[in-house]
Amino acid sequence: MGWIGEQVDSLKSMQIRQVLTQAVSLGMIVTSALIIWKGLMCLTGSESPVVVVLSGSMEPGFKRGDILFLHMSKDPIRAGEIVVFNVDGREIPIVHRVIKVHERKDTGEVDVLTKGDNNFGDDRLLYAHGQLWLHRHHIMGRAVGFLPYVGWVTIIMTEKPIIKVCFI
């Protein structure tokens, strides 16, 4: 009787040990992802250092599912840069190119107009009603790096939640 009890105890302790190892390794994955994300935030100075391209408005340069790395520095915004901006009343940020810049002499404020490379006209139609220019506070960052296809993972995850369930 004692011998069987010992066996059962050792089996139980083994399982607990395995479960604990798995929990720790899962925790390691989650925390390291968080560390990388927050570290990138500090390095780039942008509140979302990586964005996924969701529309084809910058084709053929950026396709849907590509990833852009952003950088937000104090440098002034200039024509030709690809910026990510938020428009009042829209939740999803937009990635487009700057085509016009007017910088004030006294205050240093900028008026910026953007356009998608693949769009016919400029972005005034996308801006809030009556808004003619973007200002500094609309802009979340400028694109500095590019990685193709990787963003499809997040697009599939958000659009087909069933697959996420399958993974787990």
Binding site: P60, G61, F62, R78, A79, G80, E81, I82, R97, I99, K100, V101, H102, E103, R104, K105, G108, D111, D117, D122, A143, V144, G145, F146, L147, P148
Partner: protein, 167 residues
């Protein structure tokens, strides 16, 4: 320990690591390229020059742009976005950049070009400061890589001047 899942996981991790390393090396190799592009722009004609109803000046001009950007292309270049901007200073603004024309160069074979065009985007000032205004025409380019870091640079061409009167 040596189950199918374990081995598949190890293989996938290894493959992704190698891929990331190759992408990084491809991007770093762009730094070895030291391009020497050339460009020339002529303003052939001022088609019209007027004050719009809301008080801003607007110009329409015919341009002749020729450039050789072949040296910008490397094996990691997907395309080069090139645009011509008018840059000038006004009493109110320390810098005005107005894009006049742009184009996408998909391959090295098309990087030596010559184009005769009117301005694709409207050349409108913020206010009425364009009469007799001196301006630079700057050819900017933005290199979009297959993967990695993006590069941008420009050639400034100065000595252009708008007419003293509306026409």
């Amino acid at each position: 320990m040596h189950s199918f899942g374990y081995r598949a996981n190890a293989l996938l991790t290894f493959a992704v690591t190698i891929l990331a390393l190759m992408c990084a090396m491809a991007s770093l190799s762009d730094n070895l390229n030291s391009p020497s592009p050339t460009s020339q722009v002529q303003v052939l004609n001022i088609n019209w020059f007027q004050k719009k109803l809301d008080g801003d000046d607007e110009v329409s001009m015919t341009l002749n742009v020729s450039a050789n950007l072949e040296s910008l292309f490397t094996w990691n270049t997907k395309q080069v976005f090139v645009f011509l901007a008018a840059e000038y200073e006004t009493p109110k603004n320390s810098l005005n950049q107005v894009s006049l024309w742009d184009g996408i160069i998909p391959a090295k074979e098309h990087a030596k070009f010559w184009i005769h065009t009117t301005n694709k985007y409207r050349f409108i000032d913020q206010g009425s400061n364009l009469r007799g205004r001196e301006f630079n025409l700057t050819l900017h380019w933005h290199i979009m890589p297959k993967t990695g870091k993006m590069f941008a640079d420009k050639i400034v061409m100065s000595g252009y001047r708008l007419p003293d009167a509306y026409r």
